[in-house]
Every structure is written in structure tokens, then in C-alpha cells.
Amino acid sequence: MNLSQLVFIILSAVALIGAVGVVTNRNLFRAALFLVLSFVGVAGFYILLEAEILAMVQLLVYVGAIAILIIFAIMLSRQLMSPEYKARNEQWLWGLVAAVALFAVLAYILLKVTWPTSESTVPPDAIIRLGLSLISPKGFVLPFEVASVLLLVALVGAVIIAREK
């Protein structure tokens, strides 16, 4: 085992422990903090995959915006930290069975297939290529513009839905 494999194992422990904390913790606020931990672990994966810009976006958007938004929503709607509040519904056991079965099927398939990977290095100007492809008509300028419209619509829609009448 070499260094990058060790880093990978530590990162996956961080991400998976965070995820388990999110779905099992009764206290919603603590669950949100575990969610932040899981997001940071995933950002580490992106650095390991040499997609540095995506790691920065992950930290900015998920940790900086989405997690804070979720914590705000928890604080605006809190009522429920009483000891008799049940965090799980009646079908949680079936949910667990379904999730474990899905993981078993996925792991079986993923370990069976040999993927056509290539031993290559990322081009050193990958970030420049990403930026250029987002604005070039031969690249992804249309999804880029549609994403901006989507964000505007979501912003206006969220304000209108959450506004006090």
C-alpha cells in the first residue's frame, strides 16, 4: 500500500462516517454537521482525482452554501428535539434492506466488470480547457447559459414560495 491509497482510505472513512452520521443521528443539527464532514471528504476525493477546481466549487457551494442553508431551515422549523420524537418512520427496516441490497448488486457488478481505464496524466492546462469549453460554441456554452437561467428561476421561485403572504 502506498501513500495515495492510504489517503484514499482515510478520505473514504471521513466521507462514509459523515454520511452514516447524517442518516442515523436523531438530532437534525448534528446530522447537518455530519453532512459538512461528508462534503469535505468528497472534496478530498476531487483533489485526489486532480479536479482541483471542482474541489473548490464543492467547498464553496456545498459546505459554504447548501449546508448553511440546511442549518438555517432547521433553525427556522425547529420544534422537534423532544425525547419522544421518532426520527425514523415505520418502514425504516425495509429501507435498510433495500439500500443494502442495492449496494450488494452494485458492488457485485462493479467488481466484475473490467473498465477500459488508461494510465494517463491530466493535461496541465485542464482548468483553462474547462473554462474555454464553457464559453466556446463548439463546447458547452448552451448548458452554461441554461444553468444561469435555471439558477435565476430557482432564486425567484424560492423567494416567492418562502415569502410571507
Binding site: I66, Q79, L151
Partner: protein, 105 residues
């Protein structure tokens, strides 16, 4: 590059299944939304792992663009979803999905 691709895929599958369990088992709507965010993160790990191991040799960045679009949609989904939860809480004084059954027969 001495990490096999299948390690990333297995971890992403585990993250996806944990998120799925959260969506299926929680009663609180905000907790369900957190499960959905975990699942979207797992998908992004897959996209970037395939980009790194399969596409990067060609020097193109389609996988990264796809991941950016997924993050954008996740942000929009979180904003609108949390606004809906706030609106439901204001009207019904609950965020339990079992108690929000206005459209049930």
C-alpha cells in the same frame, strides 16, 4: 494513478446507498433532503472518477462540465426544496412528511 477505478466506484456506491437509506427511513423533510444531497455527491464522484480514468487521456473535460452542471442543479434543488419546507412549516406547523397528507384520498 495507483488507486484502482473500482475503489472510487465502490465508495460512491456506498455513499449513494447510505443516502438512499436516509431518504427512505427519515420522517423529517429536511433530513430527506440531506439524503438526496448525499446521493448527488455520490453521482459526482462517479462522474469525476470516469473523467479521470477514461476521458482525461483525450485532453477533454466533458466529465468536469457534467459535474459542474450537477452541482448547479443540486443548488437550485436545495433552495427550492428548503423554501417549500419553510412554506409547509408555516401553514401546517410540521415538517414531518407523514403529517403532510393533504393530497391523500
Amino acid at each position: 494513478m495507483n488507486i484502482p477505478l473500482s475503489w472510487y466506484l465502490i465508495v460512491a456506491a456506498a455513499l449513494f446507498c447510505i443516502g438512499l437509506y436516509g431518504v427512505l427511513s427519515r420522517r423529517n423533510a429536511i433530513a430527506i433532503l440531506m439524503g438526496v444531497e448525499l446521493m448527488l455527491n455520490a453521482v459526482n464522484i462517479n462522474l469525476l472518477a470516469f473523467w479521470r480514468y477514461v476521458e482525461a487521456v483525450q485532453g477533454t473535460v466533458t466529465g468536469q462540465v457534467f459535474a459542474i452542471i450537477v452541482i448547479t442543479v443540486a443548488a437550485a434543488e436545495a433552495a427550492v426544496g428548503l423554501a417549500l419546507i419553510i412554506a409547509v412549516y408555516r401553514n401546517r406547523k410540521t415538517v414531518n412528511v407523514e403529517d403532510v397528507d393533504l393530497m391523500k384520498l
